[in-house]
């Protein structure tokens, strides 16, 4: 019974993810929390698994149009793979709330830099 809603969440996440090159967790996580009452960890983890699919599809689609720069992608992507191990380990131990205000501040600063 939950399949139609999940498919719709996927379609929305895929659209925004591909439009902005971000995978789609920004849309998927709050929708899972809102429609299925997922807890934050379950929502984030499930979203990450779904993003595997949407990112592969997005990268392949963009690559067909010659828009992917593999060298640049790996330069940020490989170190991030190391970082994510630390991040998930931290998530199990400390409340991420303390860090989220700092992260939010950085996002606003970069966002304003891109807006002007």
């Amino acid at each position: 019974m939950r399949a139609p809603k999940l498919l719709s969440i996927g379609a929305l996440g895929g659209f925004f993810g591909a439009l902005f090159g971000v995978g789609g967790g920004i849309v998927i996580v709050p929708l899972l929390v809102f429609f299925f009452a997922f807890g934050p960890r379950r929502a984030a983890a499930t979203s990450l698994a779904a993003i595997l699919v949407s990112s592969v599809v997005g990268a392949i689609t963009y690559a067909f149009h010659g828009e992917v720069k593999p060298g640049a992608a790996l330069l940020v992507g490989i170190p991030a793979m190391v970082g994510v191990l630390g991040g998930t380990a931290i998530q199990q131990r400390v409340p991420a709330q303390r860090l989220s205000y700092g992260f939010a501040l950085v996002l606003v600063a970069v966002g304003v830099r891109l807006l002007v």
């Binding site: 659209f15 971000v22 995978g23 967790g25 992917v68 170190p79 998930t88 966002g111």
Partner: protein, 122 residues
């Protein structure tokens, strides 16, 4: 120097991805555009490739912690295929400056969502 900075930001992006489950793209796109000088469209396209190693490792770890609803993730993933095609089409049809400003707006919205999620204690 630039390469060292990109590697450092990439690593930080991975930590944030693990913490917030966002896949790191929100950090990768501005890094590729502002630090490496890619166009907004190329940065977004490359970011989707950069997300993959993080998403693979992140999913593997989260699964070990028992946090992943694999069936829900598979259905969401299947639903994303059509949405991705529309997203790519729109990104390619928008002028560079518009796409960049939209992304800037997305960053501010993401920050607001993060603060909201934090304040309601999730």
């Amino acid at each position: 120097m630039t390469i060292a900075l990109v590697i450092l930001i990439g690593c930080a992006g991975g930590v944030l991805a693990g913490l917030f489950g966002v896949g790191g793209g929100i950090v990768f796109v501005p890094t590729l555009a502002l630090v490496l000088g890619l166009t907004q469209l190329h940065a977004e396209a490359s970011s989707l490739l950069a997300i993959l190693p993080t998403a693979i490792v992140g999913t593997w770890r989260q699964r070990a912690y028992g946090n992943v609803d694999l069936r829900a993730a598979a259905v969401i993933g299947a639903g994303s295929i059509g949405g991705v095609q529309l997203g790519v089409l729109l990104a390619e049809s928008l002028p560079e400056g518009v796409l960049r400003r939209l992304f800037g707006g997305l960053l501010v919205l993401t920050a607001a969502q993060l603060v909201w999620r934090t304040q309601r204690g999730s």
